[in-house]
């Protein structure tokens, strides 16, 4: 018998008035994310400064004392993520903020978070890599890392906002998803969105829905920390409430005790996301229905792509726009569906090809896949995206594999030399 969420499914919780600074602001994406976190009820941030995510941490530090929150600047990223895991288990909603190299350092404990089914939010304001790379400039090259970066099998949810307003909105959503599925949720923003200053409207508190933590409600002695409800997510308890928890990063059974081989129950870590994917995935679609070419993009690139798409439409091309709001879990079904209808997908991203592999996989050879790469340091030239669309619309042949569109920058750097 499952206790917990079933009983109070109907209860819709609203944000706390004190936490929401209703009004409209002219702020950057980092700050908006901090405001969003506070509105979502986040009371703890363990952080470590790293460009370009620092502003989010700073904004949280400034507001925290007024909303009953607390912050700590830890000694490194390993410490900051471990501290938020601890804070979550003592009952707080928590977030950490990082970028590039810091994200790489967090890998081990992201695995721990997934293993302990700890709901937390990680804001990664991506910069260009690898290694130190370009600290102050945009990149989108951590997308695959967010999904695969830690050892072992687990699934996470990743959201990619494209404006400061979305940084606010989707930070709240990220908290809601993490509480609902008890998994790490990553906000994969990028430097452009993080440092972009725009109007952000903070709605009234009662307009903001909050997913409460699914605390266990049954008798204490019957509590099994990893016994799932029907939706594969177990209800949670917090330390200090007398549940005699044993929570271990080792492979464990329902009780939380270590086991010596994986049980089918371990697979729940991936299944709870994979089987609930339809409920999690959010996409923005525009003129998809009769499109020949669909541009698949996310984050800041999706805003740059609009210009390229408009140019192409002006030339009479039928171009649809598919924006991934949730990047992980990947919208497999939708891409597979579209692949049968369209000629080609055009995937611009600020990396040398990551999400494009997923698009290619889900297209199952039904449509061409064109990659418009950008090494980082800036956003695409919309012209490149337009040219790629033009090419994709004209290509009659089915081309095997990913077609890489040679951008202006590529020609400038590599063809001039040779």
């Amino acid at each position: 018998m499952a206790f917990g969420i079933e009983a109070e499914k109907e209860v819709i919780m609203k944000a706390n008035k004190k936490d929401v600074l209703t009004g409209s602001y002219y702020i950057d994406g980092d700050v908006a994310a901090a405001y969003g976190a506070i509105a979502a009820g986040c009371k703890f941030v363990g952080g470590y400064p790293i460009t370009p995510s620092t502003e989010a941490f700073e904004a949280f530090v400034h507001r925290a004392p007024y909303v009953g929150g607390i912050t700590i600047q830890m000694e490194d990223e390993l410490g900051s993520i471990a501290s938020i895991l601890g804070a979550v288990w003592s009952g707080k909603k928590a977030m950490t903020i990082t970028s590039g190299p810091g994200f790489s350092l967090m890998m081990e404990n992201i695995g721990l978070g997934a293993m302990l089914e700890t709901p937390f939010v990680l804001l990664n304001v991506q910069r260009s890599g690898p290694s130190t790379g370009l600290p102050t400039q945009a990149g989108q090259a951590d997308m695959m890392q967010s999904r695969w970066g830690a050892n072992g099998d687990y699934e996470i949810i990743a959201i990619s906002p494209d404006s400061p307003q979305e940084m606010f909105d989707y930070t709240i959503k990220a908290f809601n998803l993490s509480e609902k599925y008890r998994c790490p949720v990553m906000i994969m923003a990028d430097e452009c969105v993080g440092h972009m200053t725009e109007k952000v409207v903070v709605p009234e508190a009662d307009k903001i829905n909050i997913e409460p933590r699914r605390f266990y409600k049954g008798p204490k002695e019957k509590y099994l920390p990893f016994k799932p409800d029907k939706d594969l997510v177990p209800p949670m308890a917090k330390a200090g409430d007398g549940y005699k928890l044993h929570i271990s990063g080792l492979t464990h059974d329902e009780k939380g005790y270590p086991t010596f081989s994986q049980t089918p129950d371990t697979k729940r870590l991936v299944d709870k996301i994979r089987l609930n994917a339809d409920k999690i995935i959010e996409l923005n679609e525009d003129e998809i229905d009769d499109a020949d070419v669909v541009v698949v993009s996310y984050g800041i690139t999706s805003r740059v792509a609009i210009r390229g798409i408009e140019q192409a439409r002006a030339k009479g091309l039928k171009v649809g726009n598919l924006r991934l709001v949730t990047v992980w879990p990947f919208p497999e079904k939708r891409i597979a569906e579209l692949s049968k209808k369209v000629k080609a997908f055009v995937v611009p991203e600020i990396n040398y090809g990551q999400i494009v592999y997923e698009v290619e996989r889900c297209a199952h050879g039904n449509a061409n896949v064109v990659l418009v790469p950008h090494g980082g340091g800036f956003v695409h030239n919309p012209e490149d995206i337009f040219k790629a669309i033009k090419y994709a619309a004209q290509e009659k042949k089915k081309v095997e594999g990913i077609i890489e569109h040679k951008t202006e920058l590529y020609r400038l750097i590599h063809e001039k030399n040779s």
Binding site: L78, A82, E108, G111, A239, G240, H246, P258
Partner: protein, 251 residues
């Protein structure tokens, strides 16, 4: 089930310190004895290697009412930095550092705090003087005992539990197998006897002089005690001073 004497000592200390057992939370990066939580009635978190102190930091800040106790084995390797910084901040946690002269669970590999005789590879490695590092990083309570100094250890633990601030108790005890409730091998029993015999109680000794070396006896005792505002105390004090009435005391 056989419980390591250390745990019974700890349970006694909790009783003596009159702390509600529900509020006690153990964090460890090397405990392999899951049933401890059931037997002793504490919450137990087993986290990634070396990260137990930041995890505990988060727990304490998340819910200041908890009494967070960290049991660590190889603290001074992976987690040395967290140790120093939590100590500097005076996070209100108790660290029980089981210096077992062997890496727990890892085939008896060298640990930095090891004396040359016990591990073939460590001759050229210097040991860390845990009490001295703790004191230099401003811990508020520093003690060291061997596992057989039961009475003194209980006292130390009681004191540390009752204190607010970063308290460090180094416990010298061999072999993790033993620690995990598996019967000790004769060799381990011999070792634990050896440590006990080879130790000398010197309370309030300057931590500079308590380095463990092959030449002299292991100096044990309560070395240092002080009072200092904890992180949360300073947070509340400073913020209520600067912000005034709008600030709600964090507790």
């Amino acid at each position: 089930m056989k419980i390591h004497p250390l745990f019974s000592t700890f349970a006694n200390a909790v009783k003596k310190a009159e702390i509600e057992s529900d509020k006690i939370c153990l964090v460890s990066d090397f405990l392999y004895q899951p049933k401890i939580s059931e037997y002793l009635g504490f919450d137990l978190f087993h986290v990634t290697r070396g990260r137990s102190i930041p995890f505990a930091t988060g727990m304490k800040l998340g819910n200041p009412k908890l009494k967070v106790v960290v049991f660590v084995g190889d603290l001074i390797t992976l987690g040395g930095n967290h140790f120093m910084h939590a100590s500097r901040r005076n996070m209100d946690i108790v660290v029980i550092c089981v210096n077992n002269f062997l890496y727990p669970k890892i085939n008896g590999k060298k640990s930095p705090t090891i004396k040359s005789a016990f591990s073939p590879y460590s001759v050229f490695e210097r040991p860390v003087n845990i009490p001295h590092v703790a004191r230099s990083s401003r811990a508020v309570y520093v003690a060291r005992w061997t596992a057989l100094h039961k009475k003194e250890l209980t006292e130390s633990m009681t004191r540390a539990l009752g204190k607010s601030g970063f308290s460090v108790i180094e416990v010298i005890s061999p072999g993790n197998c033993y620690f995990a409730g598996i019967p000790a091998s004769p060799k381990e029993n011999e070792l634990i006897e050896f440590y006990h015999k080879n130790s000398e109680i010197k309370n309030d000794e300057d931590t500079k002089n308590v380095e463990i070396t092959a030449e002299k006896k292991i100096i044990v005792g309560k070395f240092f005690e002080k009072k200092r505002p904890t992180y949360i105390d300073s947070y509340n004090e400073r913020h209520s001073k600067v912000i005034g009435d709008k600030f709600k005391i964090y507790e």
